[in-house]
């Protein structure tokens, strides 16, 4: 029955002069999300509101599901548009709306009105009072409750009139594309997709880098990462995935450096490589799924040693999360099942039995000194032979 939606946005509302940038980004993201839904839609913005109008038949649930994945939306309100809203007609149309949406009239209600069109003969409080009276008259079983009503009937009078009462909650956050771009270090695990999702929720466009180590890691492990990027892209928009062949670098580190430092040194090179690609692609930061103390390479000492190679900010949205909290988000955003598929990635294969948990930066740098003969060349080759996959 609904032909349109009123979209209320989250914190964009408090932005000052730049607000239009955020609004445009949100409008574009909504348009993009509706591309996958059958039917045609018109998305427009006016006076602090975004309206989505269906121009053809469409599936209501499908459209709502699509919009529920757009960051920046606080509420999605299915709305009835009333083109002809002289008072007589407005009351009738609102009455018909109530009648249709709530066949059972045994509830309390309150009318809330906003008058954008200041030339309209009734003020907002007057609309509330008069409309309330009309509805009580037409549906005597309904009761007014201005404090805790069961139903709020919202009426907005602008260049058209809009009536709605149902509110569907969105994800909040900010529309992707309004806060720059960052490079996600994406593995096949549970954490990194969640980290990417969380940073994207702040309006950041995501690119990703995956480290592949054939034949130690399989084609299926790589496919799993592509699949994860695709799932995350349902929220973030298309993700450009850079696949780096890391085998020779890993083997070289393995041969030259103490094995208990393998993971830390490996991660330092991953960061370096990711940062190089990030800079080439105008990213303003790196994102990892690290969380304090989760594994040996994520103790504070290890994080320190890893971080020391980066000149860019490294965003670690999960840093203080417990594993279960991360799993809960992964399940909600639908990455969990894919993440737990049992294909090994290079972080799990090349690990020493007893990796160092409190590495000193000095010791690590000393060990890396043994790599100087070949490592630059290997890194260069890895960068040059990278594969780029668009995930959407």
């Amino acid at each position: 029955m609904y032909k349109a939606f009123l979209i209320k946005y989250a914190e964009i509302g408090i932005k000052g002069k730049n607000r239009y940038i955020f609004e445009n980004a949100l409008r574009d993201r909504i348009k993009h999300s509706l591309d996958s839904v059958e039917g045609e839609f018109h998305v427009s913005k006016e006076q602090g509101r975004i309206y989505v109008e269906a121009l053809t038949d469409y599936d209501f649930d499908e459209a709502v599901e699509a919009m529920k994945r757009v960051f920046g939306i606080a509420q999605i309100c299915p709305v009835k548009i009333i083109d002809e809203f002289a008072w007589e007609n407005l009351t009738k149309e609102v009455g018909d709306f109530v009648d249709k949406v709530y066949p059972d009239k045994n509830f309390s209600f309150k009318v809330e009105a906003k008058r954008g069109d200041k030339s309209y003969p009734y003020t907002s409080p007057e609309i509330c009072v008069e409309m309330g009276a009309y509805l009580l008259d037409r549906f005597p079983e309904m009761k007014v409750d201005v404090k805790t009503p069961d139903v709020r009937i919202n009426i907005e009078v602008r260049h058209k009139a809009y009536v709605y009462s149902e509110i569907i909650h969105g994800l909040g956050g900010m529309p992707v594309g309004c806060n720059g771009k960052a490079m996600l270090l994406l593995s096949g695990g549970i954490d990194s997709p969640v980290a990417g999702y969380m940073v994207a929720k702040r309006g950041v466009t995501i690119e990703a880098t995956y480290f592949h180590a054939p034949p130690y890691t399989s084609e299926r492990a790589k496919q799993k990462v592509v699949d994860l990027a695709k799932i995350v892209s349902r929220y973030t928009g298309p993700i450009k995935l850079n696949v780096i062949n890391f085998t020779d670098i890993q083997l070289y580190i393995y041969e030259q450096c103490p094995h208990d430092e393998l993971t830390i040194i490996m991660r330092r090179y991953m960061m370096k490589i990711a940062e190089t690609i990030a800079k080439e692609n105008n990213c303003l930061g790196l994102i990892t799924g690290e969380s304090i103390g989760q594994v040996a390479s994520q103790t504070m000492q290890s994080l320190n040693a890893t971080n020391a190679v980066c000149t860019m900010p490294v965003y670690r949205p999960l840093i203080a999360f417990d594993k279960q909290d991360i799993v809960t988000i992964a399940e909600r955003i639908d990455t969990y099942e894919t993440s737990v598929l049992p294909f090994e990635d290079c972080c799990t294969i090349f690990v020493a039995k007893h990796p160092v948990t409190k590495p000193s930066l000095k010791a690590i740098e000393h060990s890396e000194y043994k790599l100087q003969e070949k490592i630059d060349e290997l890194v260069q080759t890895a960068l040059e032979t990278r594969e780029v996959i668009m995930c959407e």
């Binding site: 054939p214 034949p215 130690y216 890691t217 399989s218 084609e219 890993q250 083997l251 393995y254 041969e255 094995h259 737990v340 049992p342 294909f343 090994e344 799990t348 294969i349 090349f350 020493a352 039995k353």
Partner: protein, 386 residues
Amino acid sequence: MEAYLDNAATTKPFHEVCDIMLKTMKEDYGNPSSMHLKGVEAENYIKKAKEIIAASLKVEPKEIIFTSGGTESNNTALIGVALANKRSGNHIITTKIEHASVHNPVIFLEDMGFRVTYLDVDENGKVDQEQLLDSICDDTILVSIMYVNNEMGAVQDVEAISKAIKDKKKDILFHVDAIQAYGKYKIRPKKQGIDLLSVSGHKIHGPKGIGFLYIKDKVKIKPIIYGGEQQKGMRSGTENVPGIAGMGKAAELIYKDHEKKVAHLYELKERLVAGLQQIEGVTVNGIGLGIENTAPHVVSASFADIRSEVLLHALEERDVYVSSGSACSSNHPALSGTLQAIGVKKQLLDSTLRFSFSVETTEEEIDYALVMLNELLPMLRRFTRH
């Protein structure tokens, strides 16, 4: 060069198989249960395939029912016999090296109250016949033993086993999973004392999704699929005519010049085993009784200090396709029961590959695989997980 050495997983369909299947789909697409001519045409394919298969086993066509493949054949045999004969007893005997399509129905039957004995095997994968005879009791209704083991190619002496069982208790039913044996051996259920025999189409250059179960005349089993009473109610559902026709064709071709085909397989096996034995740190499993006493198409080998999955992917990069001897990953260790049962050392369980060939495999493919192994092994041994 490409070397497809994973024929125990599946084989490439023969051209003639594809041709006949295409014809049944494009021209003779009737439902075999239909009364009209189109139905009769379709039914004829089934009759013909049954005749070919029955002839290959020297049994009657009416003793063959078509299934969706080896798994369904094994499930039907085990569950069907158990349910139809539970008044005679509740004891089943099988081995520790059966395929999951036997092992898991048996576990299901255990849950339903049947008692199961799992027989040990020796280092060559041979069933301990003494233990078999000792475990037979009044309640025993079924013995299920595979003909050829899919992971390492051990062959059981089914005729001797059957004779021993039936000498001790006449009415025990003997089921043989012959999925890796059909096409490699001349199987004679009547002579060998086999009451039920499972076969799959895609292991003999036929299509996937088709198989058959031989059920000796008068042997009672309950179906596990109910519906329109096709195949005398033993396996309802419109018959997979393209699959059946394709499988019939494959059965016909695989047994043509059979001795020559098998001799070719043994030559390949000798060649591969000899090549493997020259490489340091490689053990070929289960050939203690001589290669001629193992299946002609399967070689299991363990590679010290290398994880099978890694070697498999390294070979794959050079177009050599094999199987890991034991499905395993660090997250979900599922080490092969068969390899454990034949006593493969613990540290080699996750380092074992299976090479398997078909009548279409060439000596060049074997040599190419060996060259690649010789190249890759020293490289991969640069990194070993501790």
